[in-house]
């Protein structure tokens, strides 16, 4: 099994494999020994599944970081809100990716309509600006307006949070 693990390390970029490969194999071999001694069949199955998936995910992330030179630019594992990191940048990246996909799909559909659609459909103008307005701008305006109303009614929780004194003694 250690040999299989070592082969799977080829999923990682070469530099990464050279730096950490021996160490990872050593840690895996030790963990495997422990699981074999103490674990039941199900525990062992979970162990191997976790290791395999971990290698796949780790290899993918390492390649991504290698390609873009981004060590912490894509914090895929950090979708939680932190005080120093209010809005995960990965979300912006994913949103842009999805947006690009949607725009491409619309353009493709438009091409198909122009080429093969009936004449009255071909006469229809470009629906993209209206779509952008409806899909992006309108929800943003709606959310901003709702939040503004809630803030004015002091229902967002921000006022209560600002009143809390964390340095004071606990009751």
């Amino acid at each position: 099994m250690v040999r299989a693990y070592r082969s799977l390390l080829y999923l990682y970029p070469a530099a990464c494999r050279l730096e950490f490969g021996d160490e990872m194999t050593y840690v895996f071999a030790r963990a495997q020994t422990e699981v074999r001694e103490n674990g039941r069949f199900l525990t062992r199955a979970f162990f191997y599944a976790r290791e395999f998936l971990g290698l796949l995910a780790g290899g993918f992330t390492a390649h991504l970081c290698n390609l873009f030179g981004l060590d912490h630019w894509l914090p895929f594992r950090r979708f939680d809100m932190r005080s120093g990191f209010k809005f995960p940048r990965s979300t912006v990246f994913l949103m842009c990716l999805i947006f690009a996909g949607v725009v491409l799909a619309i353009e493709k559909a438009k091409d198909i309509t122009v080429k093969y659609g009936p004449p009255h459909v071909r006469a229809v103008g470009n629906p993209l600006p209206l779509f952008l307005l409806l899909a992006l701008v309108a929800p943003a305006v709606f959310v901003a307006a709702t939040w503004g109303i809630l803030f004015a009614l002091r229902r967002t929780g921000m006022h209560r949070l600002s009143n809390v004194d964390a340095s004071g003694p606990q009751r």
Binding site: C16, E19, D22, R50, E51, L53, G54, A62, D71, R171
Partner: protein, 74 residues
């Protein structure tokens, strides 16, 4: 350390170690009488500062939660 609550695969663990190394939060050091494949890591001064800041942040959050609970109970 976590009493079995957190179990990491080696892939995940070494991904995290690589990030910490590249950010300069941890460093490698040599230990005597250990196998060649086994490496040891320790916190750098920067890592210690960040750990302290994160611990303070969590302590602050716990305190806020405690206040919130005691307010509800009162």
């Amino acid at each position: 350390m976590s009493a079995g609550r957190v179990v990491l695969s080696t892939g995940t663990l070494y991904g995290a170690l690589q990030r910490l190394l590249s950010q300069g939060w941890i460093e490698r050091f040599e230990e005597d009488h250990t196998p060649r494949e086994r490496r040891s890591y320790r916190l750098t001064a920067k890592g210690r500062r960040n750990l302290q800041a994160e611990t303070d942040r969590m302590r602050h959050l716990t305190k806020l939660a405690g206040l919130r609970i005691s307010c509800k109970e009162a």
